[in-house]
């Protein structure tokens, strides 16, 4: 999902009153009587729970020092750090509805046109399966290759990037199989508790209760309470959000086939276009738009599709842009170009250091400068677009959408206000590749933390965290809640929503937990000895 859209949505998203949330209403109406093992009205309404209250409700309590909520890649890299720091599996529980950590990520990348064999938008040294980032993906790819060309190519690319070649990026499959290996090595699956997390509440006397609704199939208890000193929240995207005009169209005309979001399955669009010629409109100027276009261009080349592509930009970038000669990003043909979703130095250099010192409006301002929708400059994409412009099957338009409505032949008409007047563009399919994200309050666990846990919002509307990724205002005695991932965008560290960002958060969290005596701080000797264990794939 593209950063710029995220930044704008942080403020623009419709704020749903908690009482309007379906989840909240359902939970309230379902609240059980005392002793039935379900949430009671007393629990739902109380911010600080006592052990007695939970016991009165009849919810079984499990004691464990650390729980992580989510079970995606954010939980995985955090647990990886803790296990490498020496925390035993018995001290950690991963509360999740997922079977494996890369499940949601793989789903989203696959439907947005990055299957296992395609390359991600991720740096060579950003390895969620390796806290050291050494050997990097490029080196690992070279080591695993057989043919001389396949050995040299990734090494050469990573050597000369980004000057004489595009940035090296790993294949999605390489990232997934690496995580699979590391998960087995750290006994990740021994720590899983399956179910849906309902809420995290502070506990009188310190620490927290995390309520899990176990999978119904077992016939066991309705709810489980995990009593822990520390909680880590890594729940990922609160949800997808459609462009409002496209959402209106779908609701009004009950047409879910012609207007699709790039993050939902939409293979039928490509299949239909391979069978008969058609027109696709793409909305958005980020990485997902690039990916969808690559698929359409590839289908023309490989399967003889005759697809016409209309590309609608809201902001059309014509060249280098930025506030000063020292802050200028490349751009052209509508796109803003950037290797990764932020300028690279947010993950460890000057921009990371600078953002770390900024507060409030100043921080929001810098986010605005380095944000904005962007996509990498890749030579093959440039070639495809050049061919498309020359062949007349790729056309761009710039403007604000007034309305989207069905034509008589069931195709979709988009009325666009451009600087030259109103334009009506007709397409067989519209792909929303803007990657808008829903507000954090639409996630029930995050919403509960905002409503009952003391959590607040940062300058761009997401969860307010400290430099250590501790959730501000949620401390309970000597207990702490940490959060990582996209929910924390807008904090002292910008690159949260990436492999490396999750690892940076994990390192900060692990170091903070070490200061609080939960685990050992990983020093040079432990780090080195643990790396050798990693290299030998020795189980820890």
């Amino acid at each position: 999902m593209t950063t710029g859209e995220r930044l704008t949505t942080g403020r623009e998203t419709r704020r749903v009153a908690p009482s309007d949330l379906p989840a909240k209403r359902a939970a309230a109406s379902r609240s059980g009587a005392a002793g039935t093992g379900d949430l009671t009205a007393e629990l739902l309404e109380t911010d600080w729970w006592t052990d007695d209250m939970v016991a009165r409700a009849g919810i079984p309590i499990t004691d464990v020092p650390f729980v992580t909520v989510g079970g995606g890649i954010g939980s995985f890299v955090t647990v990886d750090y803790l296990r490498i720091a020496g925390v035993p599996t018995s001290d950690i529980r991963i509360l999740t509805g997922l079977e494996h950590p890369w499940q949601t990520y793989e789903y989203l990348t696959r439907v947005s046109q990055i299957p296992r064999g395609e390359r991600l938008r991720s740096d060579s040294a950003s390895r969620p399966d390796n806290i050291w980032g050494f050997p990097s993906y490029a080196v690992a790819e070279a080591m695993a290759a057989r043919k001389p060309r396949e050995i040299v190519a990734p090494l050469f690319q990573v050597l000369v990037e980004p000057i004489f070649a595009d940035y090296y990026t790993p294949r999605a499959g390489q990232a997934f199989s690496g995580m699979e290996r590391e998960a087995a090595r750290i006994s990740y699956f021994d720590m899983l508790e399956h179910g849906q997390v309902r809420m995290v509440r502070r506990r009188e006397g310190g620490g927290y209760f995390t309520i899990l609704t176990p999978d119904a199939s077992g016939g066991g208890p309705k709810r489980l309470a995990f009593r822990s000193k520390f909680v880590h929240i890594a729940v990922g995207y609160p949800g997808l959000k459609f462009l409002p005009d496209l959402q209106d169209y779908r609701t009004k005309h009950q047409d879910f086939g012609r207007i699709v979001n790039a993050y939902e399955p939409h293979e039928h669009v490509y299949e239909a276009l391979q069978k008969q010629p058609g027109t696709v409109m793409i909305r958005g100027g980020g990485i997902v738009a690039s990916r969808v276009m690559q698929r359409l261009f590839d289908d023309r080349a490989k399967h003889g599709a005759q697809t016409q592509i209309l590309h609608l930009f809201r902001t059309f970038v014509t060249g280098s842009h930025g506030p000063s000669i020292f802050m200028r990003r490349r751009g052209g043909d509508g796109w803003a170009y950037q290797g990764f979703n932020y300028p690279k130095s947010v993950w460890g250099g000057q921009l990371k250091s600078r953002m770390r010192r900024l507060e409030g409006e100043e921080r929001a301002q810098l986010y605005k400068v380095i944000g904005g929708t962007n996509t990498p400059y890749r030579r093959n994409w440039q070639r495809q677009m050049r061919d498309g412009r020359a062949g007349g099957y790729y056309r761009t338009h710039v403007g604000e959408v007034d309305e989207v409505y069905p034509a008589d032949d069931k195709r979709v008409v988009t009325r666009v206000r451009t600087k030259d007047g109103v334009l009506e563009l007709t397409a067989d399919y519209v792909v929303d590749a803007t990657g808008l994200e829903a507000d954090i309050a639409e996630h029930r666990v995050l919403n509960d933390l905002l409503e009952h846990g003391g959590a607040g919002r940062n300058p761009i509307g997401r969860l307010d965290v400290e430099r250590t990724f501790e959730l501000r205002g949620v401390a309970s005695g000597d207990g702490r809640v940490y959060a990582s991932g996209t929910a924390t965008l807008g904090g002292y560290f910008p690159g949260v929503d990436t492999f490396l960002g999750l690892q940076i958060a994990a390192q900060e969290i692990c170091d903070d937990l070490a200061r609080r005596g939960f685990c050992r701080r990983i020093g040079p000797f432990r780090s080195t000895s643990q790396w050798f264990k990693w290299a030998r794939n020795k189980k820890i």
Partner: protein, 148 residues
Amino acid sequence: MLPTLMGRIQTRIVALLVIGGIWTLIITPVLPINGPLSDAYKVTFRILLAVTVLGIGWELVYHALQQFRWEKDWPTLFGLLTGFNEGALVWLLISADAIPGIKSVPGDAFIIDFATTWLVVWLWVNGPMRVPFIRWRFRGGSLFGGAR
């Protein structure tokens, strides 16, 4: 690693003196320098020291150039190629008798010594250094102090 100015300077000093130092110990005996080994060591370690001291000045230049880059990064390739200008400057200074304690050094010995040391340090900084120092790459190359 994405350097800050402090990080550049710290990494430069530590990597050159430690990794460069170990490499200089290994390579010096095989260099084509006439005379006793102790004299050869005096020359090669003075070269290493000169590269380190001059390097601090170079880092200021690189940091200034980095400001023109949107990403505020320093590509891996730059770290390798800057060996040419730095090596040339040291050679010029040796030729001009401007480096204390070095009267002369054969050209081939200088090239082998400088190029291999540069390569070894560059390889170290771009990979294995991340193993003992897990926080280093996220702190702009700083090893000491609270700067991030």
